[in-house]
Every structure is written in C-alpha cells, then in structure tokens.
Symmetry: C2
Amino acid sequence: MSLRDTIKKLVVKSKKASIQSAVLSTDKKNKILKAVAQELRKSAQKIQIENQKDLDYAKKAKLSSAMIDRLTLDPSRIEGMASSVEEVQKLEDPIAKILGQHKTDNGLKIRKVSVPLGVIVIIYESRPNVTSECASLCIKSGNAVVLRGGKEAFHSNKIITSIYRKVLKKFGVSEDVVSLVQTTDRAAVDFLIQMEGLVNLVIPRGGETLIQRVVQNSRVPVIKHYKGICHVYIDKDADLKQAEKIAVNAKVQRPGVCNACETLLVHKSVAKRFLPLIEKKLIEEGCEIRGDVNTKKILKNIKKASKEDWSTEYLDLILSIRTVDSIEEAIDHIQTFGSGHTEAIVTKNKKAEDKFVRRVDSSSVMVNASTRFADGNQYGLGAEIGISTDKIHARGPMGLEGLTSYKYVVFGKGQIRS
Amino acid sequence: MSLRDTIKKLVVKSKKASIQSAVLSTDKKNKILKAVAQELRKSAQKIQIENQKDLDYAKKAKLSSAMIDRLTLDPSRIEGMASSVEEVQKLEDPIAKILGQHKTDNGLKIRKVSVPLGVIVIIYESRPNVTSECASLCIKSGNAVVLRGGKEAFHSNKIITSIYRKVLKKFGVSEDVVSLVQTTDRAAVDFLIQMEGLVNLVIPRGGETLIQRVVQNSRVPVIKHYKGICHVYIDKDADLKQAEKIAVNAKVQRPGVCNACETLLVHKSVAKRFLPLIEKKLIEEGCEIRGDVNTKKILKNIKKASKEDWSTEYLDLILSIRTVDSIEEAIDHIQTFGSGHTEAIVTKNKKAEDKFVRRVDSSSVMVNASTRFADGNQYGLGAEIGISTDKIHARGPMGLEGLTSYKYVVFGKGQIRS
C-alpha cells in the first residue's frame, strides 16, 4: 500500500470513530479518562523502558541537552501526565451545551447546540506528554484525534497512545478515537493535511518552519501561531517600580516560551529615569540588551539594535529596547513588528490604557501585568490544545471550547414556510 | 502597475481602513448606516441609470431571464436595499461585547472581548443588492470589506459602493472601509485570495465551480458552502399528514435555493401509505420524481433514480425518493450523500427524534418543520453574510457574530508570574 493510502485508511477509520465519540455520554468519557490515568500510572515502568529507546536514539543523534530534557519521562513526569488527564476529566463537558435558544412567532423553537469538530490532526515535536494532553482533550470534546509526533519521541508516543487505545476498547469504544501515525516518513504530514472532507482541523505545534510548511500545503483549516514577539510598553504615566518588575518578569522568568517579552518600548519622557533601572536588573539576570539610537544615548554600553531585532523572537535572554515619542508610536511599532500574540502596557493613565486596549490587535492585551500570564490555565480554560494568533475560530490560548463547533436544532409542530 | 500590485495596493488601503473602523463607536456606525439608507433612496434614479447599462450588457450577452431578473434594480428593490441597511443599523453592535470575565486568585481580571476580524473579501455573482448587504454588515461589525462582484453587475455595484464611500468620507471615516475591485479580470480573484496577512477572511458566494476555485487557491481562511443537498426523513412514527405538508413545502416552495429538499427518505413501514399521497401532491405541483427500486415498486410510473441522483443538488422541481429499512439507514444515507446543510425528520417518536438530532452532523437539523426555515432571519441573526457548511468559526446561517473574533484583555495591578 502506498503511504498516501495508508494515511487515508487511518484517517477514514478516525472519521468513523469520530461519529461514535461525538455521542458518548459525559459519564462514559469521564470513566475512560479516569481509567487512562490509572493505566498510565500502572504502566510507568513500561513507559520508561520505551522512553529509554528514544533517549538512546537522541544521544546517538546528538540532540541538544534541552531537547533530551524535554523528551525524558521520569516517574514524576509520568505522574504529572496522569494527573493532567484527571484535570481534563474534571472539566465541564463542552458538548451538547445549549448556546442559545429562542422561539419564533410561528412557534418554532430554535436552539444552538455545541458539537465536536470531528477529526483533529495534531502535528508536534519532542515532548511526549503532548501526546497524552491532546488525546485527553480530544476525548473529552467528543472528537477523534490523529497524532503525528516527532520521530525522536516515537517509542514514547507509541506506548502512550496504545494505553489510550486499550482503555477505549475496554469501554466498547472504537480505539481509533486516538491514533498515532506509525511512520516517521515526513511525507506522511503532507498527506494528512490534504485529507479535506475527512480531517476537520489541523493544529501544528512546533517551530516556524514546520508550521509554515503545514500552512502552505494544507487543504484543511489550520489553527496555529507562528511565533510570539511580545511587547511591553512603559507609558509616560507608568508606575516605574511596577514597570521594572513587569518588564523583567516578562523577559527573564522563562525566556524560551512564546509569551515572553522580546521588545520593550519606553516613552521618552520616562526613559532617562527608567532605562538605567531596568539595565541594572537585566544585567543582574544575565540578559543582553540591544537598543535603538535614542535608547543608546542613555544606555551607552548596550549593543545597537538592527532592524531585524524588532522582528526576532529571541526565545533567549536578549531584549531589544526602543524609546518612543508617544503611545501612538508604540502602537505603530507593535502593528508593524508584532506577531499578534501578547502585548502589555504599564500605565496609571486610564485614557492611555483604553487606547492601548482598543487599538492593539493582539490575542492578549495586558494592563499592568506580565505577558507571561497569557495561557490557558490562567484564563480558566483548564488545559490548552494550542495557542492561536489567527482570528478565525479560536484566538489566544485554545482549550476544549476551541475543539467544538455548533449546530442549529429547530423543533416544530409541522410548520411550513409560506 | 501589474494587476497583482493594483490588488495589493487596494488591500493595503483596506487594512489601514480596518484599523479605523475597528474602533468606531456604535453611534457613529449607526449614523453612517442611516445616512447610507437616505443616500440610496435619494440616488434611486442614478442607480437605475447605471443598472440599465448592466441590463443592456446582459441582454447583449444573452444572459438567462432568471439572471437578468436577479440583476434588475427597480424602485421597489432600491427601497428594499435602503430598508435592509436600516435593519442592519438596528441590530445590536457585535463589537466590544464582554463575552466572559473572571478574576483569578492573584487578583487579575480576565476579560474576553469581541473584536472585528479586519479585512473581509466577498466574491459573489449577479445580485447587486448583495453589495449593499455585505457593505452594511461589515461596517456594523467594524470590519473593512473588499467586494468583488460579477462583471455583469459592474456598473450597479460601482454606484452602490460609491454611495457608501461618499457617506463614509462625509463622516470623516476612510472611504476604504468599503472597496470594490474595479477590474473585471478574473485573475484579480486569485490575487485577492493570496493576500495572507492582509485579508482575514474570504467569503465566496456563488456556484460550486467558483467556490471550489477559491478554496483550492486561497492562502486565507475561506467560509463557504458548496451546495445544499437537504433531506427530509419520514419516520415510521410520523404524522403522515404533517409529513406530506413538510415534504412538499421543503421541495416546491422555492426549489432554487440551498435549503430546499432534494431527497426524501421514507421508512418502509409507512411507504405504502405515504408514497401515493406525496406522489399525487408533487405531480400537482409539477414536480418530477425519481425513486430507488423499493420506491418504484409502489410508485410504478416514476423514473428510476441513478446513483448520481443522491448527490445532485437539483435546484429545480425534481425530487429523489428512497425507501429505507430503518432510521439508521436514513442517517447513513445522509452521512454518505448529504452536504451538511439542513436535514429534517418527521416523527412523533421522541427516541427517533433524539437519535436523529444527535447523529445527523449538519449545520441545521429540523424536527417536524420544513428545511426551508434554515436561514439567518428565522434564526434571529437579523441578516446573513453567508451560509457555512464548514465546522470552523461559523456554521449555518452566518450573521454579524460570524464577522467577529475576540481578544483577551487582562487587568492587573503589577502582577508578575512566579
């Protein structure tokens, strides 16, 4: 069988399974997830043995120590994986919710009801706990999921999905509700994202190159974010103590993630006081600073920022700083170089706050708080299947609700249209 | 300038205008729409003169009389257009609505707020009132719109959009909130739908070939429905009097629209009584019937339905009928041949109703009511920008809400993440 046919066969099975998972009761879904959590704990040793195969490969392939760390499943991470499944189990069922209802003059009862999307394809890299997170969210939301992990995590992903499949089968549910693409051939991705009419949504999670490739070739809707070039703007009416804390936290607390700050924008009227303060703190934290001409006039020892700096997601202890003449210039800068992920303003001025909140067109806008708060848990979504900087369907941190659609159900008593 | 550059220039202007329209107050948007309605009325004669140019072309090009009818703008249609704008003006502003709000343990206030999508491209054919409908909906929802009508309606579309632009300008708003593609070159469409990052959503309205072409080539999210192959299923526990009324209405009341019924599914245990009844009525209405083997055993004089009939949207006075052994077979048939638009069940049996409602995966499911009720006005949306059989973003009749996205706004007092 050609690779394309193999993938198609797998997706057709998922589609069929999704018809079954769409109508599972909340109780049954919860029982399945509880059993999965138990089974993950019971299988901890087996999971570690399989994970070791991936780690051996990773060492041979000389993957970076950061990647090897992300790949590693030790007993505490396996426990974490199991308790995450229980967290998802406890979330409210997003399916069959009445989203709206009204009666028309001619007596029709019109109801808008939430339904699953169908088949979700997730394309991701390295962290094998993503496998379990996505599988549990897709079960809870009545979907079927096709998982395509990186080849470096193949054995780990295989054992985790086989645990899900075993439990599904035990409960009389098609095991194809959770499938793993069993080949590491990269072409498999291209076939998956061409399965229009069978796959309902593709979520690529990973580096920008991977996501670009998926977006370029997909015939199915894709939800994604390319990168997070997040800004903190220090307004002329900022509390500078607060500004310092927020800017430092946004940059250094976890620089390798998408909601970390990459560029600081400082109003010129506070630049002279603020910049030396923040420079000191950042240097203490081991952070490199690159500034525009006006910033360099105040901070003599920093590097000059090139034009490229403004559109670079460092994911590292580097911060670019630009001094701006006005809030409008800050907003313009964000419109030009931002990625639509998360921006923050620090100000005590209500007018400046309003302007920033209304005009900045990003999925999250923070007022006097760190950009690092942009995540599903903080937003009360419980768990994240991904983050979207698109405007269609789901935006920002995307949880169970993002995995649903709706339909209209109309109850009549024989009404016809005249 | 190349056509691609011309289109890009136009879209860049729209993008810029969309930044302005996103923050217009409700009051200002309403004043603009009221003024547009007035201006349309005042310009009725001018509109007719321009429309006549299109009609002259249509006659020369020997367009069908149905198309010429759709193209015609007489005084009553112009009045209808103006009052539709007033209807949109009266709808609730969908922007800056608080969709959800909560406070976290650390005192952050997290708010989900509705925002416009940005730039909407609409690609459509013949009816020039669509121009005004789409422009008014996009203004009300704080978007900018790029309209690409058919060349047969070029002069009519041009005068209608110029009225919108004149009014926008009078209110100090960029006239580029409403733009019309001024070339009739078909390649313009291909360039428009490649403007990733500038255009936020494409809505093609028209024949399946047009929509397929847009979907195949778009680099921007597309919302659409290809066709409406709607089914009415007559259950074994149907009230046959009601069933007859609903089936006839769904087929003949307006056969040329997407929510008209194309296939009737009849449970075998009522087929002998029901089929002769419905045959009589349909023949009275001038409707042709095509049936499967079992239906033909009862209705001897009808044509045999070929396999193609089950997946054909007749948009005409033709109905295919299949006799099924069970409700499951009816649902299977719908899953196999349906287009996900609208299906109806006629039954007095609550269990059958529940099964049909949960399992039929269409954007609208009717219980004891005609499929013809699937539309935005009936559903309380006020006006429709299109109908979606997709599951992403918007499903079914799509109104103002479908033209919005949301963002998260987080209000803090200096909180940082630990």
